[in-house]
Amino acid sequence: MNATVLAFLVLYYVVVLGIGVWTMRRRETDDLEGYLLGGREVGPLVTALTLQSTSMSGYMFLGAGSLAYTTGYWSLWFAAGDIGGGVLNLSIIGRRMRKLSQMMGALTSIEYLEARYPSPLTRLIAASLSVFLLAFYALAQFIAGGKGMALVTGLDYEWALLIALAIITTYTLLGGYLAVAYTDFFQSLIMLVGVVWILGAALVHVGGLTAANHTLAEIDPTILSIWGTGLGFEGQWGVVAGAVLVFSAGYMGWPHVVTRHMAMKRPATARLAGAYATVWNLLFVSAPYLVGILAILILPNLDDPELAIFAVAHTLLPSAVTGIVMAAIMAAIMSTADSLLLQTGSIASRDLYERFINPRASEQQILRVSRACVLVIGIIGYLVALVEPPAVAFVVIFATSVLGSAFAPAFISAVWWKKANTPGAIVSMVAGAATSVFWELAGLAVTTTLAPVTAGLAASTVAIVVVSLATQRSSPVPAHILAAMEETARVGPIPETLMATSDFALRPEAEEVESMLRDTEEET
């Protein structure tokens, strides 16, 4: 590794730390943060950037690049779904879930699931699945962080991994040493510039996309095929469907993504977020895959395809820029890892420990469980990443497939189908998770040409429909939930526009006023 690169890398972290110090020292006029924490938006651009920076992760920089490098244009099937994941999620679940979760007073997506499908089993299953699979996703970030650190410092993978993990866990355990809002914004800007620069430089280097494709065709025409290098996936629509589904429908299974819907203060934000998500994704989802494909030409003999994007940056960009961009990428990976670990700790402590083991737990105890969880995952993750690191792409796709299969039908039905009941949801989650895991482990994707996520989603969808209908009489959906879902009941004749613009955020107050009015009217 070049001294200039390293120098600028260090400089980057110094600047970021500086921003952190500066914002910390601004005593109680912590305007931006308090504002954001209080849920107020600072402006569409900052909001959009802070929202998107959490999607920059190991998958984007290592996984996608390596998929593209090894399978060519076939990898774009994953991008095909991913581009729309954000807006799909927002449009299908967004507002309705906010409505329902607000009425039920749920703070997290898992609490919400239990509120909608009342049963301790719901929480237990949802929380356990989430913890397990989020840990997997975190593992992917560890591997990415380790490899990136190795590349950047020139150290052996074992040491680099240890350092990366140490930084990640310290960051998580000591927590909040950087004012998240400002640094997220700064980092997003850097990565925006960086990714565009890398892609631009790569295109210039190969003489443009058309020329590049012609050259690729000469090397191996199947690189350009939608069935992948060597036409390995020819005719396998089930696998292709899986690739499209995993990052579109699959997103609806990620607890931290879904919880974000609940946190949105105004549905208007959701609309704007949807628009930004699509615009952002159009460029940034496709870019890593394209760079990976072009890397076939630029660096034809890479030892480790996962480092394709890093290597292209290193080859084509001026050292200073490489240093800064790689630092930003590393920071993004570690920040994603940190978020995941926090999520896992939070779910383990609140949805498992506090809910089932110690309902009177103090904040201190809850924190201790969170930290213990982070440590355990860190250690196990380190060992796995050290001994037998799976490919980043594989881990992320697997985790997303299982989560999506398990939760997407439950979340969608929660707001769209009044007959979806507790037994239906429980069986659906189990069926989805079990099917997708089994499909993967038994290698059934090869024999059936159906991807695990396709099979998993099919299983969970069938399960929720069949079981809900079969148990409607024995386990009807509780009245208060139905009431929350059907706002229009017993309203009387009402102008449509009035109904459409009725503010659901006032629902709890409205219910109270309704009952008070009913009581007073009974008296008179």
């Binding site: 952190g20 110090v21 910390m24 020292r25 005593r27 109680e28 912590d30 943060e33 308090g34 924490l37 209080g38 849920g39 107020r40 607000q102 007073g105 703070l107 998580t172 355990l173 000591l174 927590g175 909040g176 040493y177 004012a179 998240v180 940190d338 978020s339 926090l342 939070s346 904040e363 201190q364 924190l367 969170s370 930290r371 982070v374 706002e487 009941a489 017993r490 309203v491 009387g492 004749p493 009402i494 102008p495 526009t497 009035l498 109904m499 613009t501 009725s502 503010d503 659901f504 955020a505 006032l506 629902r507 709890p508 107050e509 409205a510 109270e512 006023v513 309704e514 008070m516 009015l517």
Partner: protein, 164 residues
């Protein structure tokens, strides 16, 4: 008791409340029948987290609905003395201590998630008070025969249809 009560200032007039409903209901006639005051507890809390670079604090304003126990963060507002003739006061159902606990928890959750911090923030209550929010109940009538009823938020003009 009611002479000490305060409400969030800036309530819409009855005419304005009627106007809000009239504008979206076409040929129906709107009448603002009565005003009610909905009880909340308001807490201004400071959350201080210890970080590597010193103590960092954030201030949050939290409103707790004293009938449903739901908490939310709030923008700053002014208060004014409540005139008991101006509308009926709804009874709070939550004791202040319970409301504070709810506010603490909500704020801590918000701070921890926003800050990505695995530490218990120190909470200080800077200010607290029981405060009422004014709402209008507006009826809509059409040719005498049919009516609907709407709850209008006296501060924002947002409304929610009421069921009978």
């Amino acid at each position: 008791m009611t002479s000490d009560a305060v409400a969030i200032a800036g309530c819409l007039t009855s005419a304005q409340a009627e106007g809000v409903i009239a504008s979206t209901s076409g040929e129906w006639t709107s009448r603002a029948r009565r005003r009610i005051y909905y009880p909340y507890f308001w807490f201004h809390l400071r959350y201080a987290t210890r970080t590597l670079l010193g103590k960092s604090s954030v201030r949050l304003s939290c409103l707790v609905d004293t009938r449903t126990g739901l908490a939310s963060t709030a923008d700053p507002f002014d208060v004014e003395r409540l005139d008991p003739n101006a509308g009926a006061l709804m009874e709070p159902r939550l004791a202040e201590d319970d409301a504070l606990r709810i506010a603490h928890r909500h704020g801590a959750y918000v701070v921890r998630n926003g800050r990505k911090a695995l530490s218990v923030p120190e909470v200080t209550v800077l200010e607290r008070c029981q405060v009422y929010k004014p709402f209008w109940i507006v009826d809509g009538t059409k040719r005498r025969a049919s009516t609907f009823r709407v709850l209008v938020d006296g501060l924002t003009g947002r409304f929610h249809v009421l069921r009978r």
